[in-house]
Point group: D2
Chain length 161, copies 4
């Protein structure tokens, strides 16, 4: 560790309600408040909500984009990385992070959650998917009560493994 910032990813859907958007913004504010870099997929919906929140709290934001054009990033993204990999970039978003927080989400978010679990990256869930294995809840996704709790949990999981 050379004093680099932690990187925390926010995973979530393109389409979200106003209430969900507000929740994503709050997650972003807490990530920036903790001094971490906000990483996301760089597009709209929950990705934009979290990036806006991080900027409001004075943080820095990185968006890893599916397409080839940096210009497709939402306006709250400081560093926009086009990949040209389509949905395969989901795995890169996750791989880049010290921990991820999934907020709501459809199948794209599910693929990111699954990659995070596969790669052993701490994964927090806020009103997102639940996973059943042999009819039992799998405890890989750490459930959070609210935005503040989600970021606290992510930080704890990074610290204690």
């Amino acid at each position: 560790m050379n004093g680099r910032k932690l990187k925390i990813g926010v995973l979530g859907p393109h389409a979200c309600s106003a209430e969900e958007y507000e929740m994503g913004r709050e997650v972003g504010r807490h990530i920036a408040g903790a001094g971490a870099l906000l990483v996301c997929g760089g597009l709209d919906g929950m990705m934009q909500a979290a990036a806006e929140g991080a900027k409001e709290a004075g943080g820095e934001t990185l968006g890893i984009l599916p397409g080839s054009e940096a210009a497709a990033a939402n306006p709250a993204i400081d560093i926009a990385l086009p990949t040209g990999l389509g949905p395969f970039r989901n795995a890169l978003v996750v791989r880049a992070c010290d921990a991820v927080i999934a907020v709501r989400g459809a199948y794209g978010t599910l693929s990111e959650i699954a990659f995070a679990l596969r790669l052993g990256i701490p994964t927090v869930g806020l009103r997102t998917w639940k996973l059943l294995r042999d009819e039992q809840i799998d405890h890989g996704i750490h459930p959070a009560e609210n935005a503040a709790h989600a970021v606290e949990l992510a930080l704890e999981l990074i610290k204690h493994g």
Copy 2:
């Protein structure tokens, strides 16, 4: 369509019980019996079970490997494609297929299921993960009763979308 064979993927874990291995073999036999190419991750466990089954039934097998060496493929793989992409190759296994059948599975298989759902590739499950969204079962994974049913379902889903 130029008369190319269908490609059906079998997704499953490295480690499996003797009973699960037999189930995988039966899935492989039915895939080959239907005239389809068996696609898998090329390694051991369920991937080998399915490939062995396909070979027993006179079929052809393709393994998309995480590492850089074709020699790492199990002996039932006819065409071994090293990718050097590590677990990211999971997304390629799925992208290559007309339909996938998940048999049991840990987080790696879950990542393949999630990518298949994200990409809109028909997905059949045999004693595998279940997904809860807003506390409801998500119906993206089509549940099969047994190996024969799993392949039937996959063929139907390819045909009728």
Copy 3:
């Protein structure tokens, strides 16, 4: 080695003259004649020429496609693997092969040649790019006189490293 077929890639451009097309077909015929699997990018031009040649000589062909649709493969491709990775699939075409033969080619082919050299995969060139390093010809690309010679060279390089 478990008796699997060798895999030889043909790298080349979308657009080629009738004479170049004929040269690609001859390369494909010799690859199939040597009992190897023909691997290519699956599209038109030199990729189709080589695949047609391989089919004429009774061989099998694998196309690793940039897009998401198997249907985009040329009609001489037996196994069409869509990747959805765009031009990044070039690296996968190369990684899949025991040796590659570049025939003519523009920047896409150059990227494949460079990846093959980077990965240490034997690389034969037929009227393709030459590389200068400190004003000297770099000898990573083994120059061939004609189609038959190109395949001979590839087989020798696989054998003797």
Copy 4:
């Protein structure tokens, strides 16, 4: 354009002489001096030289790593992105940039140059590879006289296409 910084990549080898290292540092200083983000492969040699130069001039640096551990980045990297893609990350380094400057370099750098040319990303060369096509120098790589000239050229090429 939303006022985001330009991103300029420096491509170059692991191993370099003291004189080459100094040249890389100077390239980095000029990139930061121009207000651009320095992007590189994040490891040692020329990648470290350029990142050090950028930090000396008060700039910000992004390293796109082949491995899975951010800790492998050199100490001058501010944002370290592990990809787990091995040498395939070379294509991502290039895709992320508005222009690239190749300084010296072996086959890895050649693969990055080739991808940049393939993707139409402005490419400047400083004592690096030359490419011959039909025995003629290909003019895709814009040759620079020295570090300052390389960055000037990159900025011009971004501006005028």
